[in-house]
Assembly symmetry: C2
Amino acid sequence: MPLGEFDLIAKYFTRPVTRAALGIGDDCALLSPAPGMQWAVSSDMLVEGRHFLPTVSPHKLGHKALAVNLSDLAACGATPRAFTLALALPRVDEAFLQGFSDGLFALADEAGCELVGGDTTQGPLNICITVFGEVPAGQALLRSGARAGDDLYVSGTVGDARLALEAFRGTVVLERADFESTRLAMEQPQPRVALGQALRGLASSAIDVSDGLLGDLAHILRRSGVGAEVQVDAVPRSAALRRRPLAWQRTCTLAGGDDYELVFTAAPADADAVQAAARRSGVPVTRIGTVEAGPGLHLVDRDGRPVDNRFGSFDHFNAAE
Amino acid sequence: MPLGEFDLIAKYFTRPVTRAALGIGDDCALLSPAPGMQWAVSSDMLVEGRHFLPTVSPHKLGHKALAVNLSDLAACGATPRAFTLALALPRVDEAFLQGFSDGLFALADEAGCELVGGDTTQGPLNICITVFGEVPAGQALLRSGARAGDDLYVSGTVGDARLALEAFRGTVVLERADFESTRLAMEQPQPRVALGQALRGLASSAIDVSDGLLGDLAHILRRSGVGAEVQVDAVPRSAALRRRPLAWQRTCTLAGGDDYELVFTAAPADADAVQAAARRSGVPVTRIGTVEAGPGLHLVDRDGRPVDNRFGSFDHFNAAE
């Protein structure tokens, strides 16, 4: 007899709950932020063919499903505390569930983020996670705080996830080592949770790069009522991506998507403090441009010459993966 | 050119946010409970063919998607405050989105529950809502508090949603008025939010009926370490259901599912207070049995004779709708 819904929950998703007042198995989870703290809350839904390929291992998928949500908390500077998981599965597949829950809980444990509730049902594969982080009241990093003259930064490197996607699509052939390293970036992104917290009180605005660097930066600019100049050749990229032609490098870094790095702004006077925060978090950050008072996003190359902005944002309705 | 993801969000799901510190359009929503309050949190995922039929109107689907989540808050005695919506759609269908968002927001406004964030993507139709309610710290209604000797109650009537489902399945033919009234119960359930709040400090345990009365009651019994006797003919049912044979009435009321009424327990000394709470909430409640010290769920008919318990719980993996 196949496992039923309640057996599934019990077998793969029930763990002792320590922080939430009440966890899986009641109608609601009960969550109390510490005094003076707010909850930062974000929901992301992952669909096969849109957010992951059918070839991904269940373990990596479990990691990624939580990682993209933790990345939203990172962009707010919040400390991960809890999450709910709603999961639609075509059928009860124990090998999938074992790998998925292992990957999910490995990252959850690393991030100190507890599963406190959720739902399982039969249906086309769909993973919806809602994540809860704590942030001191009034100190969340927002998209709306960038000011003219601020430096513009990005964490880590960007573009590898897109390069790997193109390799899966067959539009590029990579050497084995490059394929493996970029595939890891696509399938197992590392949310910049420690960096986000370290940037509280320092970054004037922040967002995580999920739809492409320029597209996500545009959200900051619109919300903040400012423009920016980006030095496109200063955008940090991996050795694997540096081996591709410059046009590829630019497309992957500027419009790649699925990077889960942080783009943020900070006053020039805080440049040393930003680098110190990056060192404490173990994640390098690179200055890639400047916030401008006038509107618009201006791209320049290493010599200061204008570069056409033909780099659209990834749109889950109008772009096929 | 089709609407993109960001246009969709802007057109159908962006409204002024008054309560949350920050709403749709940043990486996270920021939520602060009032002093002394906890957040009650629940996530439910709705999939076509499992939780609703393709024939449902978008307006009613918008209502139901939020209603089933509000029902979880009701079962905890929490006051609805906010929700996130993650939505996968096969294609951008503006007629669907208009009806869906109208139905969703009509109930949200009635319940005082604000949309504070979410996600939209392309994929097989899937609706995942996470709902946030406030409850005074330590006062949430739980599944675990039932005590031997407590009275057992259910709100409203149960069984109509199942009867309507059977009519859609073609296993029963209903007169037009009965079809319409039971279809309304199935497609547009009314979460018992006011009753749940009125039962705080009064009910010793509570759960909402989503998978069938006896199946959900079994969760209370297991969590509370008790048993119960249920008078199956005392379970309240509609006039439409009373017109069916007794065996149908029992199956639909005891194992129907999708009722979204509250099952709860309370001390006999509080019987008058329970009825007063029900009157204040505008929802009748009916005593249907007694909590027992010994384990197990015993069914009796109106004459006190044992009735076989052949009424399984609805299981989203092992039952086809």
